[in-house]
Amino acid sequence: MMDKQYEVKKSSPVGKTLSYIGLAFWTLVNLFPIYWMFTFSLKDNDEIFGQNVAGLPRNWLWSNYSDAMRVGHMPVYFANSIIVAAATILITLIAALMATYAITRMVWKFSASMNAFFMMGLTIPIHASIVPIYVTLSRIHMLNSYWALIVPYSAFALAMAILICSGFMGEIPKDLDEAARIDGCGVWRTFVLIICPLMRPALATIGIYTFLQCWNELMFANIFISKDALKTLPVGIQALSGQYTTNWGPIGAALVIATFPTLLVYVFFSKKIQESFIAGAVKG
């Protein structure tokens, strides 16, 4: 009863109303630019530039989307982004799972320092390596290839992946390894058959985190890739906006095409995605 009384006292109706006004205002600030992007992707310049700046489109101009797809090559950029992200996630997961297993489950003298070594990767900015990687890639004629992005992205995603992995692997009881060994399982079989299947929640977390990093990365993609056929979405959108400087509709359509999938996935898995970001930062 007591605390009930105090709770009534602390949340005065005025304070509560003010809180809601603040929250509603920030909701508007968050949603309006996204709403505006969706609407101008379906308008022609006359509407965007004066007749109907902020309203819903009067004629839904789907041709903006077909322009972005056919003239703007959006499907190609989209596919490239998927290929690069999928390969990066796969490589990162395998390398991180294996390294984490060696660090947290095998007994050896330098496991702690090895962990600290990998964790340095959390602070190293991606710019640090751009000159040598660019020079090397151009010498071995690997610029303009998927690998030019996949390998660096995997390496830069590794530290965070190991960090998340060790958190999850630490929760698997060590008795399991013990039992497997007594049953005659070697290290490799224990790793593949027992540990890996139990790591599924970690894989989702790392996958989400790594996916967004690749999907959005601009600097490397911009410098290493100049062929249209290999551009990822961020670089492709930059190219497309150069093509359509005065015609806003197709640019808006391209922005929506690049954003829609992530937002759609977010609608269904918002909690899991938020947890991934929390796991990434808080455990560090």
Binding site: Y20, L23, A96, M219, Y266, Q274
Partner: protein, 293 residues
Amino acid sequence: MKQKKIINTLNIIAFLLPGLILFIVVLIAPIALSGYYSFFDWNGFGAKTFIGLDNYKELFTSSAIGFLKALRNSLLLAALSVFLQLPLSLGLALLLGKGIKGERAFLSVYFMPVLISTVVIGQLWLKIYNPSYGILNVALTKLGLESLTRTWLGDVKVALGACFVPTLWQYVGYHMLLMYAGVKGVSPELREAAMIDGATSWQVSRYIVIPVIKPIIKVSVIFAVTGSLKSFDLIYVLTNGGPLHATEVPSTLMINMLFLRNRYGMGSTIAVMLIFLCFAFALLINRAFKEER
């Protein structure tokens, strides 16, 4: 026994190998190489000329390169992040963490911009800021505030601020989410006990919640500051450092050195300075939070 030990060692090496190769080839070796290149005058393909510390000297003294101005700009962005963006995030986290109706819905909306690619956000804000047709100037005109309209990204005085706003828009949700997770971790008993002792909602936040989530605030400060030092994508899309270097940051400067002027030695020098600054600030912030405790 001995044989078993050898097999064990081999296994450990095998498990570490994929990660180690990636890490050394892409991170460690290139950083060492960047350090090495920074002592040379080099156009990327011809012969390298060893010039000792001349690149560093030039970087800090030449006003033509303007590194100090770029550094000042990125530190200004860092200050804006720490003193504007983070308090806003903290306020939202505290408000939502108290358990308010619609908490999950607000949280999910506020986090949404984090998932949108920076290039998309940059392109979108280019349109918002467009001097003749952008929604910002149109809205100001309609509200009768025509005197406030301007060429947001082309005006030396406001361009840097205009570049900061989209960053704020994009990342408030991220920091809010981290802090919110911390706020939710504060035990309800502790809160209740304080409330029974007559503490106001503000006092509970100030003396119980904030001290508990301090480690998270530290992470946020480190991310905000190193993120500002490294900022590239958004500036590149919005202004590419212009007008008249008003929004130049070290990364845009580095890219221009490399790919417009073919000065690979100088580009590497900027890269080295960036790594150094990121580590130095991370250490400094860590220490500042430790001392306060």
